[in-house]
Symmetry: C2
Subunit: 480 residues, 2 copies
């Protein structure tokens, strides 16, 4: 069976798996990642069908997500095949080095050790059993224990079995990746002394609680959590006027795709007071969105609770109402659009700090960009993304350009990614991507959970001083 119930046993297996020479070796580990990609490809249709059944996400979306997940496996395989991820640095001995003679020093990145990955509910492939966190950890040379999402247990077990079969067929340990379904067992693993890293994708409340456990164990370990994010969008007066239709359509797509269950869904949009055409167009598009299932009954309940909390606040007006219904336990929804004023959210910033995970968006009407420049830094602490939608004319007006620069600076100070066009959903898996912002959007804004740099969370530098070649790791030797 794939699930174990004793943290000690799980770590025993994880360490045995991780120390196998075939897993330690970068090129054979790269080959294993490629075999995992092939296994996913070979079962794509049945995996997507199972995922659709368990999550309610669409076939097209899930097909694309599985392609992305396979791409991630190959990306990391390419990265590690020649040990490039170890980023060797060599400082030869230098008797004249200031301020004191320098011995021969050679540094590389090495795996930190077993990783516990709390999988996401909203990406059943790309952030689940063989998703980004797991694969980056495996690529680094760490064995992985996945706490599965309760939203797709059968898919999780199926993917884990596939992976375990691949590992076994290659002479690696089938326990190179293990899964845990039980919340308490996962917490036991999180506190096991031999566990070295934890990752998490989910809500701020759940992530914060687990991060505290990791930080207050007898030997604390790093906890890389990707938590909640509001992903504010600013629409300039010129943009609202000149691009009303395009912006309204794009926004609705970004808010309602997959029922808004994305960590980068735009939750708050700052809209100028005089942009009624944009607002009315947005309402029309919101009302055209068909019903979509929420990932799980629990997520559906959380969505309604947080949405209603905002909508029931004084000074908030619903512009496009939801048409929610249940089929069995599952909640099906259409998007909800509400609006309030900047003065109101300055009085009560929780209105723009409460993540509503689902197809909800709050318009915040502002009078002038100057007003917004002043307000923005008071409202936000940390987001994965912030977006400013402007026009070319904005850049030609000296004063407007200054305001946009000031806003941009406030966005950069509080976000991992700032967009000057497009919408924040749809995160490209590439080197220049930063997916992780200041708290509460992430627990460590210096790391990313998307793109090749995600591997760095599972590596730490080791320096070898005055070592003969025969004792040096391969990539650090003087003679090859």
């Amino acid at each position: 069976m794939t699930t174990a119930s004793n943290a000690g046993t799980i770590l025993d297996a994880a360490l045995l798996a991780q120390d196998l020479p075939e897993f330690v070796n970068d090129s054979s580990r790269a080959a294993a990642l490629r075999s995992l990609e092939q296994a996913l490809a070979g079962h794509a249709d049945s995996l997507v069908a199972l995922a659709a059944d368990e999550t309610g996400l669409g076939i097209e979306r899930l097909t694309g997500e599985l392609v992305r997940t396979r791409f991630q496996l190959l990306l990391f395989a390419d990265m590690i095949a020649d040990g490039g991820h170890r980023r060797p640095v060599v400082d030869a001995a230098d008797p004249a080095y200031p301020p004191a003679p320098r011995p021969d020093l050679r540094r590389e990145l090495e795996p930190r050790g077993p990783v516990l990955n709390f999988a996401a509910s909203n990406f059943p492939f790309a952030f689940s059993v063989l998703g980004g966190d797991s694969v980056a950890a495996l690529a680094a040379g760490c064995s992985v224990i996945v706490k599965t999402s309760p939203g797709h247990p059968e898919l999780s077990a199926r993917v884990a079995h596939l992976a375990q079969d691949v590992f076994a067929s290659l002479g690696l340990s089938s326990q190179t990746i293990q899964i845990v379904d039980d919340e308490q067992v996962a917490r036991d693993v999180l506190q096991e002394p031999r566990l070295k890293v934890a990752t998490f994708t989910g809500s701020t409340s759940a992530g914060s609680a687990l991060a505290r456990i990791a930080a207050t164990r007898p030997a604390p370990i790093p906890f890389y959590g990707e938590l909640g994010s509001i992903n504010p969008v600013v629409v300039t007066p010129n943009a609202a006027h000149a691009q009303a239709t395009e912006l309204a359509k794009g926004l609705v797509g970004s808010v309602s795709g997959s029922a808004g269950q994305f960590c980068t869904k735009p939750g708050v949009v700052f809209v100028p007071d005089n942009a009624d055409h944009f607002v009315n167009t947005a309402i029309e598009h919101f009302e055209d969105v068909p019903k979509h299932r929420m990932l799980s009954p629990r997520i559906g309940e959380g969505y309604l609770r947080h949405r209603d909390q905002i909508c029931d606040t004084d000074g908030v007006r619903v512009l496009a109402a939801d048409d929610a219904s249940r089929k069995g336990l599952n909640l099906w929804v259409t998007p909800t659009l509400a609006e309030t004023t900047l003065d109101r959210v300055l009085d009560d910033p929780t209105l723009v700090r409460t993540e509503v995970f689902g197809p909800f968006c709050l318009f915040v009407r502002y009078r002038t960009l100057v007003q917004l420049v002043d307000a923005f830094p008071k409202l936000f602490i940390g987001n994965l993304t912030s977006t400013i939608r402007h026009t070319a004319i904005d850049l030609d007006e000296v004063e407007t350009l200054d305001h946009i620069r000031a806003l941009l600076s406030a966005c950069a100070a509080t976000s991992g990614r700032v967009l000057l066009d497009g919408w924040p959903t749809g995160v490209s898996v590439t080197a220049a991507m930063q997916h992780g912002g200041p708290w509460p959007s992430s627990t460590d804004a210096s790391t990313t959970s998307v793109g090749p740099n995600a591997i760095n969370r599972f590596l730490r530098p080791v320096t070898y001083q005055s070592a003969p070649d025969v004792l040096l790791p391969e990539g650090l030797r003087k003679t090859v």
Copy 2:
């Protein structure tokens, strides 16, 4: 006055200082670091004299430390002058990018924000007011608040005044660096919402307590602590036999220099059973060391307490006894050498996990390398350094080489730096250096507090998506 007592006021000043365009600009900030170096150089003699008086450290040692501190300022100035520390990554738009079209993405590292630096007692220059942590943070573009060490208050105030005068003379804010003497005020600053990073050099107990505050504040912040370390040394039977005199002499120098008050002082040495000549030579050298003052009465008391805790344990025998005395409040000591057996420390690993901060070393006698290979992973979790002293003959014997490789692997798994020659004290400030190991030696083994990479603790990536040149940071623009 340089010290403030209100955390809010301190952060107000820190943010104002940090946002000044002349501080934000990389090349003018680099020039400021060079001016700080000149200021230290211009007052070298009086600073060293004051440091010697307050700390009891020798003039030669302090002179070298000040040279190193100036070197660090210039190293970081060179690094940031052209913005190289921002490590720009550009991914041009690519409609054919797998698995989905990629927008234009440009990433760079940006300053995290105000830093609180708990200064070290044992490096009054290199890890104090203008020491490595402060200078790396300033280089990153963060203003700095230093909690001064109670061991050298006048020196701290003097260096802070020098720095503040330099900043003011350059049109920067004198509050770019602020100092705090009071422990409670420092804790208030640590909890101030606008503080973004904390650094610490000191004991595991003090560091752990502060790390918990940082991790459990409403908005947690990273806490980069360099805590305690045992720095085990293994002497192979061949080395003990062939290099007895050289090893004994070098070891005593590393244990007793500056009264052993180094974070990389070798605290435990694994010595073969049949190495009496080496042991006797070491005893002779230990007994020849003259008295040295401990940094402060408090550190002296802690030293005696921890040393006696080890020496009073059953199965531990004192080989070279200390000749401690007091002059006024200050404790003066000669080194203490004790020994026990590997079997004994396997029964009670606290014997090799208790840092004795001062000139104390525990020899652990072992029978065979095989026994040590088996024991080592059971004894250590995290150290800044581990050292294996071997000979060329060891590398020619297949079986011995295997044992050394296994030991090396255990050392690398638990240390930031592994030495195959030399002694761990004397940390070179260079790119291939790693000063930071698994907990409890550091709070984050993926970072270093020595060398140019130390700057990364104060930076986080920000990605700009689809941004026109006029809105991009200078180093990310398409046209220069």
